[in-house]
């Protein structure tokens, strides 16, 4: 459904954030992008959503297509209309607005009646949000804010939902609740999910395919079980050492392993 092919993204015309990134997401599939800080994961999502330009970012190569149609150069609202929506990192709610107003803004691309209908759907998925509908969004707890942020994105009835680090700064119980909701969404409503996460274990547990990104490149990809078997992934992303117990950091030759991926 979504195909990202050899995309290269630069900021300010000089800083290369992403190079030769290729990935694809199929209908109803949960795909995860893993990688450390600054690897370029969020930049890829922003590139797909068409919101690089406020940060002086530019896609200078490659293609991004949704069902064969190019998304590059289209306006953010057209991209939302075509069924691709993103939940930004750190929730980014409209703090001074009420929860309901926040949600209604997620449905701005739809008709008023369509948005009202979508509102009921969101309340079904996150009953807790319904209780808080007239609260000022800025005063919600982190977990509730994340639910509103996801709900707001769902208001546009997306076919592809992109989540940028939904687990950031949340309690494990809330994370489990949110991940369960996302998982249900893809199973029951056939919504595709592109999930960016730092918590690799969690992401691999619900994804059906994963990409690992380093320094703006896809260095490894495969189904979760294949990645989880990989020694490097185990060590760098899941925190296990080969023998299963702690190692002396002096023995770890990080640079050699990373180099192998990059060459």
């Amino acid at each position: 459904m979504l195909n990202v092919n050899n995309v290269q993204i630069v900021y300010d015309n000089v800083i290369e954030a992403v190079r030769d990134a290729s990935l694809s997401v199929d209908e109803g599939q949960i795909v995860t992008l893993l990688g450390s800080n600054g690897a370029g994961k969020s930049t890829i999502l922003k590139g797909i959503s068409g919101v690089l330009y406020p940060e002086e970012g530019n896609i200078i190569g490659g293609t991004i297509t949704l069902n064969g149609e190019s998304l590059i150069g289209r306006k953010p609202d057209e991209i939302v209309r075509s069924g691709v929506v993103m939940v930004p990192e750190g929730r980014q709610l409209f703090e001074p607005l009420t929860v309901e107003e926040n949600l209604m803004m997620g449905g701005i691309t739809r008709s008023r009646s369509g948005a009202t209908e979508a509102l009921e759907n969101v309340f079904d998925i996150f009953p807790r949000v319904k209780e808080k509908r007239s609260t000022i969004a800025g005063y919600l707890s982190g977990g509730e804010q994340q639910m509103v942020a996801i709900g707001r994105a769902l208001m546009s009835s997306p076919r592809l939902l992109m989540l940028d680090e939904p687990s950031l700064g949340l309690a494990p119980q809330i994370i489990a609740e949110i991940f369960a909701a996302v998982s249900d969404l893809s199973k029951q409503k056939n919504v595709s999910v592109l999930l960016v996460e730092q918590n690799a274990e969690l992401a691999l547990s619900i994804a059906s395919y994963a990409y690992i990104i380093e320094n703006g490149r896809v260095v490894m990809d495969g189904p979760p079980d294949k990645l989880m078997d990989n020694e490097d992934v185990k060590e760098f992303y899941l925190g296990f050492s080969e023998s299963g117990h702690r190692r002396n950091m002096r023995d770890v030759k990080h640079y050699k392993r990373r180099k192998r991926w990059l060459s």
Binding site: S49, G50, V51, Y53, P54, E56, K75, P76, D77, I79, V80, R81, V85, M86, P88, Q92, L93, F94, E95, P96, L97, E101, N102, M104, M105, G106, I108, T109, R112, I136, G138, Y139, L140, S141, R152, A153, S156
Partner: protein, 290 residues
């Protein structure tokens, strides 16, 4: 006491116009984070246009106002499209500089077309008025009070209940997220400019009717500026209320302390306000969970 009431009432009469002008500043700042230094000039431009219309056709006051509302919406849209939109994505400061340039341009254009002599805006309400006890108010001043109330109510309904109004508040809160949700931000900006210009137009017609026209009419925009700071730059309603406060304060300070204080009393107040409440009386401090 009589003197006090007299000063207060006439202060309110001028204050409502400051309030109207201030609402325009606040709306543009709220939606686009730009202080529009050409706001007073846009107001002057429209009041001169109103003069041309009123001298070509004999229109009743409300008819004239309606035509001017229409024209000012177009003026607002054109200014946004031609001068402001190309600045999108640039530093806010650059856009503010553009508005200053625009202000100077409009001042020159107005003198070029209409000349520098003071003019009277001919309307059918003229010098009529109503006497309340010992206070006399012109009909136009009463209209000004009514129109401010109307604009405040209209803006409240717009920002609270219409989708465009909520989208405007959302864009003001977080622009990038607004883009991500599919809000057409350029559209929001254009509408904000159009509405601000309409409010400027209304205040321009009122000023022209009450005080007449002159090439220095734009200074009223500057005089209204303390109201916006006092209310909080991003509070449309705060600007309306503070406009009245500043108007009354100006009058009282002149009446009781002395001539010349009228011009500066508003600015003295904002000095104090900025020290105590930097976000103004009604502005939003950052919402933060503790």
């Amino acid at each position: 006491m009589d003197y006090f009431i007299l000063l207060t009432v006439s202060g309110i009469a001028i204050g409502v116009i400051y309030g109207l002008i201030g609402m325009g500043y606040a709306l543009i700042f709220k939606a686009t984070s730009v202080v529009n230094f050409a706001h007073g000039e846009i107001m002057m431009l429209i009041s001169y246009m109103a003069f041309s219309i009123a001298s070509s056709w004999t229109l009743p006051f409300w008819g004239l106002l309606l035509v001017c509302v229409f024209i000012s919406a177009i003026v607002g849209l054109v200014i946004e499209r031609v001068f402001i939109r190309p600045m999108l994505g640039q530093d806010v400061f650059s856009t503010v500089m553009v508005t200053i340039g625009l202000a100077v341009m409009i001042r020159a254009v107005v003198v070029l077309i209409w000349g520098a002599d003071p003019l009277l805006l001919p309307t059918d309400i003229g010098d009529s008025g109503v006497e309340f006890g010992m206070v006399f108010l012109y009909t136009s001043q009463l209209y000004a009070i009514g129109l401010l109330a109307f604009c405040v109510l209209g803006m409240w309904v717009f920002l609270r209940f219409s989708r465009m109004g909520v989208a405007m508040r959302a864009t003001a809160a977080r622009e990038t997220t607004a883009l991500l949700m599919g809000i057409n931000v350029t559209h929001v900006y254009a509408i904000a400019w159009a509405i601000a210009a309409v409010i400027a137009g209304i205040s321009g017609v009122l000023l022209g009717t009450i005080y007449g026209l002159g090439p220095d009419l734009w200074t009223q925009g500057l005089r209204a500026f303390p109201a916006v700071i006092l209310g909080g730059l991003d509070s449309v309603f705060g600007a309306a209320i503070s406009g009245i406060l500043i108007g009354v304060l100006e009058n009282l300070s002149e009446g009781y302390i002395g001539q010349g204080l009228k011009e500066i009393s508003g600015f003295l107040v904002i000095l104090v306000v900025l020290m105590i409440r930097p976000y103004g009386l009604f502005g939003t401090p950052e919402i933060e969970r503790v």
